[in-house]
Symmetry: C2
Subunit: 1002 residues, 2 copies
């Protein structure tokens, strides 16, 4: 408190890293000042930019680099972009709409949508599509709000989310997005391989099922081998020539569009002239078509009727008379029906409701007649059967990837002419388009194609044609080839995008173990990131089944979308001033709905995947939080903790707490030395040992000087105190004030520290140790003044004397006593403090002893009994002792007391009448001499008793007498206190705040 | 701020309603002072009690009334107690153990436990009992901790809970407890009627089933009629003679104990000599025994073998040859087995696992052979069948009431010699005893009684004997009569206890609509409360089924227990200093486990009842909170909000927020007039309109005077400000400080308001309106000083001029402009403020206009374009205008600027070197005259432009120029500001805090 601050070193020139001004160079600054005529604002102008120059710099800056400073480095490292710094000139159509369209349409539409429609039926498929698409639509709305809330830095969705949600959420969401994209790559590759091996070149299969019943094991191995080869090839392509990938993007998009158009064309054509794809049924069971030629039990060869290939399949011998045939084959007829009855056929009625199948269940057409006998197991391979068990929830998980990809537009924010306009419009239009395509596809598939064919996932019934291909016009090959190329393209793009995303996250340096993935090779390609992406994608490929990979990536994308919605909802509700999206059609309720839908979809499609995904995200969050990411980009979430704190504080503000809720809320007054270091750190140690009360701790200090000149010193000493608080493990707040006089500063701290209900109720102050030696009376004057202030403010006061001898936090007292000298009942602080101290490890093993002083007419035996009862009721364990003071003191004391009596009796009743006080004051002055002698004598006697009883105590707690009303007695008062505490190692002087702090009631 | 406080009217004599001291009368006080020898503590002694006198008063007080003052009234109103003020002298056994025992044992043990064992099997029944008993045991531990935390006031569990959890929770828990007890009364009455009608006097039934198949409808109606009669009778008994109820308590207890003993005796006897209760089986089906005499298809009458009654029941004609008999009857044999094979028979193996039945399922003994043909429906009535569908969860709900009643001991706290010792020991012992009885009963029942008999709820198979009665020794009647009386007694006690509990809650006056139930008749009987209790119990009786009422009361008791556990866990975790239970063997983890078990049991036994019960409790909580119960008893929960606030604040403390999170956190400096009223309330209105930023608002004011003497004034003015804040709907905090000079007080507020991260960043200050007229220069001196202080503290400053013309919160501007004059870029406050204001209804329809001043070499067209772009990027909608100033001003300005240039260029770079500053200072002084003229001229010109453009604006925002560095120019500065803002209706002068507050980035 003695520190005097130095003369100011200049007008406090606080400079911030401005979010607009890219390192203002002095040259441009010099120019600004030539034309200054706003003399009145001269002072502002020499530290702040003038409007016109600011504006021109701003606008040109925006035009050139288009991105926040923090991304410049990332940009410049990306050589491929640096080589062609094309100005951002893409419009909504090319920049957002088409990329989104391409990313949303995917392999599921071609490979699984027919199967989903067949399994779930038109109505439930419609519901699945509706759920997925409305989820992405709501997310797109939230994302549009986020994307239009300020200049969108190049870097896309990850940057938007991390900058608005902060590093913890940003990192978690970013990694979810990355994992989602990586698994999407795996899914696309698996899809491409499936098309390749099933429909394009089935001969290429390496593994063949051992026999007709072996099922899918061989196919999975084929997928694994070809998938790994394909992934390696693609990774190489990405590694050597990312630009070719981008160039072929439009080709891939064209493939998708042509394929979709061919579906519509085929559906329309089917009205007049349905394509010829007959399927062969035995009873009501569907037969695998390519295992026989003629759909009939017999064929006419020449004039003979001979058994057909089908007959041979089902019978043990070719001889029709002696053969033993399958029972079901014998009892049922063979019929041939059309796989595509066409739009006009009314088949939609049959397909309206789904038919969920168990694994291995044979596809049956319910409307055909069938004699229900059990065929032999050997013939199972001739029927088309379900390869997995299906349910509504499973289908949701498989379909959802078809709705993802909505971030493609915002990822290109850097290349857009007007990102704030293009992103919302383009994305929402793209989602609308794709949703309409999906809805119409569901209806068309249901209306055109026979149910058993729809449920036939791999087109076994239609000679291993792609089912959707059979509908398309002019040829199934249009779709097979189109979907193959588009799938390959999508895979390539995912493989391109994912490593770049990982690199961006790594460069943000919020997740230390990812740091290595931030490096790229010379041309900026993220080599290591690509490698990791390849490895993770390989995991997906080893799963080998499209139907099992799809739910995994659904989870990650849904997590990501969930957070986008959350970011929008939270920022809207918190009304962050910076939350001013240009896109107006958002609402927190929509975002909340979107969030709920994401969550619901996650748990609907797979609750255990959902828990795993949330666990992963949670772990990443905690990891980043633990690493203490201190990022300069700020987070929209901070408003949450601000709101929470404000709410909690406002709730608290309802007057002082009830006695039974009283906790010491400390204001610790610290002295600083000349170097702004804490003079007695043990004060903080003591405070931390008292913190079992779990109340508030404010550490205050005063710097002597002029506030206008001491800002730097204040900051420095606050930092010093905070460091010391950290060392001493005091959790609390720090407040350093500048005042012209120390005592005024202290009065100020006592008055105005704390906020609302979080106010201190106890002041902890050090003893002015050298006051006897010091010729400067201010040392003890400010001490006494502080005592008076605490009394005036109704605060309790604690003065630890010889604080340097107090134990550190590492010491452990294994025995000994905490002695309380209960001389006046002062609200019960004396009883409560030892209890609180004993909660701390240091004092835990100490025992509490309570001494009280019996006087003239006290019955000390009864007193001891009463005291024990009282402590029992207080639920405090303590030894009790009543000390009798010698008679000489007593008589002197009582002599004095008799005189005092009258005035004291007057005081409580006439406390409002000022003359009483004045009279008392006058009387007091007359008596002051006499008093002083008495007090001195009493101090000595009391000290004798205390030292006698408590010389070996670990800590002595003692009532602190109040300072004399008459300032003339101040020096004597100090002297008395010294005498009173002499010969005791550790003393804590305690003065109550004028209220009860401990109660016998619960 | 001008208020000067009066001389002190006495030493701030803050007196609290002490929790120990019962209105200290002056007589006892006078005595204290005769023996005062502690001169040093004289000051304490005249306002605080001396230890010895405090102690003696305390102890005697405790001995006489035994209860908190707040209950005294309740006590004295209770005439029956007043008439015999017996001193509390009950020990653990009589006071706690036996009452608990009696309350815990209940009707379920006798009426349902056999059935539960039969249905769930021994193992699962054991589990049910274990769950219920461990739940109550954990609750008892928590309750013991609460009960031993301080002197337990008379009033029992409700008082303990409400005093430790606060009125909201206390009221909710109290009502749950009340409803539970009331439904318990209904359950006991239903149980008593069941015993009466089924086992005692079946002839008394009024309604009889129309035929043998009609089932339980008639029985339910019997229950309703007799239940209502019984309830009425009991209510009358309670009303006229509560003391008789209490007197018969020991009789009822004796009944219970005798009944239990007879069960054990019977079980032991069954080892040697099992009782003869044959049951008759047809095939494996159990037959209702009282519908026939001989268990056989034929009887030998004389020498003839004639069809038995049983045969006649199952066959259509008595003639054995022509009769058409029931198929099942014909194909199966009739066997007779023992219902009580006895302890030694090993029947327990068969009963080990349960047999949950559907409604109407016939009780079958699996080990008997049976030809499984479908009998005719007409014979259904001859078999014993299940009357309800059972499941594990249902049985839990039905059994739980047997474990309740653990509060009986603590309810008698007022009568105990040493409540703190007796309650834990007695309660825990009673729970242990009852648990052991239940466990052993489960095993004994399973080991002695045949499974079909156990599952036979109403003893149909054993001639309508009570099943447990068949086991008992010496006679079934022991249990039938014993359980009847004990059940009637329990019902009477519930009916006695519930109204008293309701009365106690009503007298606490926390739930206003219950107030009427607080009144009693002359002798203190709570008439209205009894009436309500009767009505609610009647609801339970109308349900008429014991099995349906039991889960209802389970819910309410579980809710109550849940809160007891919660109270214990929360207080342990919060480490409230007052939480010092004498009972040591509690732990928060145990309480937490108990809480979880309560919750689990609630949802296990019936999730919808659980939700309803929680809904009811929640509604009561909200209602009490809404009614704003301000009870003086304090709550242990308050620590929660304190901890929450502390945690939230500590989380916040991490430096200033990022630009994008910046919100105005206001410190509003208010002037008070002589009467301590707010001088310009519109300052607060303005602050509330800015509160769209949802930041912090601290309202500060300064009282001139000496802190030691002004405590009262501070409190009064804080209250005045708070009232005004309420009126103006400003949510925030208030801080009044006393300082010897107003300007120092303001500096102090600016420095030390706020806590941790909750610090103000913007100061709102009024204009010193009369400064020109006032001869006292302090008026404007302190204004300028405040401006300097805010600059030094890096705070933003807002000065609303003509604040009285600012709109109130009720006005709505339907059009008009908010004009911003953007002269220097000062962090962006000027842009942000109109946006924030426009979030408020008052300003919503105003449009924003931004004016900037083009100077000499500015290209104003380009500037306007740039400004529009800038605002677009800021996502602010505003009209933009660039104003060109006339050339004469410009040339003068530039002339001056040229000179200024050199020094300014020096400043930013050498800011650390003090000589630079001094040099500047010197130069400045030389130039001051010239400056002043220029500034004056400039002000006039700028004002002309502003008035010209913005004379019709609703509000004009303007950069506030900084005060001159040289204090000599202060008066001129004030003059310039006046000139600058002349002719404008509402002006807001804004000065940034030296940091950017708005950003174009998201």
């Amino acid at each position: 408190m003695r520190f005097k601050c130095h003369p100011p070193s200049g007008h406090g020139n606080h400079k911030e890293d401005s979010p607009f001004l890219s390192s203002p160079d002095s040259a441009s600054k010099r120019n600004d000042y030539y034309d200054k005529n706003l003399a009145l604002f001269e002072e502002e102008l020499d530290i702040r930019p003038k409007v016109s120059s600011l504006l021109s710099r701003l606008v040109s800056y925006t035009n050139v680099t288009q991105g926040a400073k923090e991304h410049e480095e990332a940009e410049s490292a990306d050589a491929s972009r640096r080589q062609m710094p094309k100005s951002p000139n893409m419009g909504t159509l090319m920049g957002v709409y088409l990329p989104c369209l391409q990313n949303i349409f995917g392999v599921i539409l071609f490979l699984r949508l027919t199967w989903i429609v067949g399994t779930a039926g038109v109505v439930q498929s419609f519901l699945i599509v509706l759920m997925c698409c409305s989820c992405t639509m709501l997310t797109a709305i939230s994302m549009s709000a986020i994307a239009t809330n300020g200049v969108v830095p190049a870097g896309g969705a990850y940057f938007m989310i991390s900058r608005s949600l902060g590093p913890e959420f940003g990192g978690a969401v970013g990694l979810c997005f990355y994992l989602g994209t990586t698994f999407a790559a795996a899914m696309y590759i698996l899809g491409a391989i499936e098309i390749f091996l099933k429909y394009l070149i089935p001969q290429a299969a390496i593994f063949h099922p051992a026999d007709i019943h072996a099922g899918s094991g061989a196919m999975l191995n084929n997928m694994r081998v070809y998938g790994t080869i394909c992934l390696t090839l693609m990774a190489v392509v990405v590694f050597v020539g990312v630009k070719y990938v981008n160039k072929f993007a439009s080709l891939f998009l064209a493939c998708v569009i042509i394929s979709i158009v061919s579906i519509y064309a085929g559906a329309i054509k089917s009205i007049f002239h349905p394509p010829e794809f007959p399927i062969c049924m035995l009873g009501n069971r569907t037969l695998v078509r390519d295992l026989f030629d003629v759909c009939g039990k017999t064929v006419v060869v020449g004039n003979d009727t001979v058994p057909s290939q089908l007959w041979k399949n089902f019978c043990s011998s070719e001889n029709s008379s002696s053969a033993h045939c399958d029972e079901y084959f014998l009892q049922n007829n063979v019929t041939e029906i059309q796989s595509i009855p066409g739009l006009a056929s009314g088949i939609i009625k049959e397909n309206m409701w789904g038919d969920y199948m168990d694994k291995g269940q044979i596809l049956e057409k319910a409307s055909l007649s069938s004699v229900d006998v059990h065929g032999s197991m050997e013939t199972f391979g001739f029927y088309v059967s379900a390869d997995i068990a299906t349910s509504f929830t499973l289908l949701v998980g498989i379909f959802f990837p078809s709705a993802t990809g909505i971030m493609a537009g915002s990822n290109r924010s850097g290349d857009l002419r007007d990102a704030q306009k293009s992103i919302p419009i383009g994305t929402i239009l793209a989602i609308t388009t794709t949703s309409l395509v999906y809805f119409s596809s569901v209806v068309l598939f249901g209306a055109c194609i026979e149910g058993v064919v729809l449920r036939d996932k791999f087109g076994d019934a239609v000679s291993k044609n792609l089912v959707v291909g059979t509908l398309s016009w002019p040829s199934p090959w249009v779709i097979v080839i189109g979907s193959f190329f588009s799938t390959v393209g999508a895979g390539l793009q995912s493989l391109t995008g994912a490593p770049r995303l990982l690199q961006a996250i790594a460069k943000d340096n919020i997740i230390p173990f990812l740091r290595v993935f931030g490096h790229g090779k010379a041309n900026g390609e993220p080599t290591w990131a690509l490698l990791l992406t390849g490895l993770i994608a390989e995991l997906g490929i080893l799963i080998a089944s499209l139907d099992m990979v799809a739910p995994i990536l659904s989870m990650f994308f849904l997590m990501c979308y969930l957070f986008v919605n959350l970011a929008c909802a939270v920022q809207t509700l918190l009304r962050t001033p910076n939350w001013r999206p240009r896109f107006r059609y958002y609402h927190w309720a929509l975002s909340f709905l979107g969030m709920s839908m994401c969550l619901a979809l996650m748990f609907i499609s797979s609750w255990y995947y959902a828990i795993v995904a949330m666990g992963i995200a949670g772990m990443i969050y905690k990891y980043i939080e633990y690493q203490g990411a201190e990022k300069e980009w700020g987070d929209g979430i901070r408003g949450l903790s601000l709101s929470a704190a404000r709410y909690a504080l406002l709730r608290l503000e309802a007057g002082p707490p009830h006695t039974k809720n009283w906790r010491p809320q400390l204001l610790v007054l610290l002295k600083l030395d000349e170097d702004l270091h804490v003079k007695y750190p043990r004060m903080l140690t003591f405070a931390s040992q008292l913190k079992a009360g779990k109340g508030l701790t404010i550490v205050g200090s005063v710097i002597q000087g002029n506030f206008l000149e001491c800002y730097g010193e204040t900051q420095a000493s606050e930092q010093a105190i905070k460091n010391m608080m950290e060392i001493e493990r005091v959790k609390g707040f720090c407040q350093v004030v500048v005042a012209s006089k120390v005592r005024e500063g202290i009065a100020q701290l006592i008055q105005s520290c704390g906020l609302g209900g979080m106010k201190h109720n106890t002041v902890v102050m050090g003893w002015p140790y050298g006051w006897r030696q010091s010729e400067d009376p201010r040392a003890w004057k400010s001490f006494i003044n502080t005592v008076r202030c605490t009394t005036a403010a109704h605060l309790a006061l604690m003065v630890p004397k010889n604080v340097s001898f107090y134990p550190s936090n590492h010491e452990r007292f294994s025995d000994g006593y905490i002695d309380v000298w209960w001389i006046v009942h002062d609200g019960g602080m004396l009883m409560l403090l030892p209890f609180l101290l004993k909660q701390h490890k240091v004092w835990r093993k100490c025992k509490m002893r309570i001494f009280t002083v019996a006087q003239m007419d006290d019955n000390s035996i009864q007193m001891k009994k009463d005291l024990a009862t009282f402590l029992y009721q207080l639920r405090l364990e303590a030894e009790v002792e009543v000390v009798e003071m010698v008679s000489r003191t007593l008589s002197m004391g009582s002599l004095y007391s008799d005189e005092e009596e009258e005035t004291i009796e007057v005081l409580p009743e006439k406390t409002q009448m000022t003359w009483t006080n004045e009279k008392i004051e006058a009387e007091r002055r007359n008596r002051s001499k006499q008093e002083q002698e008495l007090e001195c004598h009493h101090s000595v006697k009391l000290n004798e008793v205390i030292v006698n009883k408590s010389h070996d105590a670990r800590l002595v707690l003692l009532n602190m007498p109040g300072p004399p009303r008459n300032p003339e007695g101040d020096e004597n008062y100090m002297e008395f206190l010294e005498v009173l505490t002499e010969g005791l190692e550790r003393v804590l002087l305690v003065r109550g705040g004028g209220r009860e702090v401990i109660t016998i009631y619960s």
